[in-house]
Symmetry: C2
Amino acid sequence: MTPKSCNYDAAYGLFFGSLANHNRFSIISVLRDEKKNVTEICESTGFEQTMVSHNLKRLDHCGMVFSEREGKCRYYRVNEKTIKPLLKLIDAHIKKYCCKILTGER
Amino acid sequence: MTPKSCNYDAAYGLFFGSLANHNRFSIISVLRDEKKNVTEICESTGFEQTMVSHNLKRLDHCGMVFSEREGKCRYYRVNEKTIKPLLKLIDAHIKKYCCKILTGER
DNA sequence: AGTACAGATGATTGTTTAGTCATATGACAC
DNA sequence: GTGTCATATGACTAAACAATCATCTGTACT
């Protein structure tokens, strides 16, 4: 499949859907500053291993994290090029609108 | 509620969840370049009015669109400050990763 | 006040998603 | 090869979501 033939719409859905889940967002957050293996992610987040693996798979799938094996462990790191500016942008948005977001006021 | 007391995590979920839905994304897309009222959005997208209203409510709720009444109509426009750079960022990401995203290759 | 147009809301239902359990694979050490 | 640690996968169920339907509110015009 060439990039031109890709179905961009579906890709958008997968991309944003990946960040919409609270647990995946937590995983991204603990990886924000340093790479970690699955066990370390579990410890940092308190999540179960299978759940973390499932969610890492999805994040990897969307190009949000990269991974590499080191001996018995597989280390994951965020795709800094996308994730860092994205989170920065959204942080600013939420700082400004979070109250509206959470209360639903119009 | 002051910004400091906000529950940011929930806000992130609402924010990204809003963009994860294909129909909401279409609505954002047709508003990307010009403001439109609900009827016009329906015409541009082919969606039903009630569905559009429900989804606009959510987008408004997240600070992604703003609205103002003009006579009988209510016009919606995107929050350019957030949406434009966001979409630009994601466009670049997806151009690079969409094939992986859609095929699931590792 | 009555009608018509524009949009919003609430309830219901079918679909999607996500966490959990059981199990499988992969890598290393002995 | 066997055991153990690290991670991945598939199937299943429960919870979340989103579209639809029926109905309601708001504005303008007469």
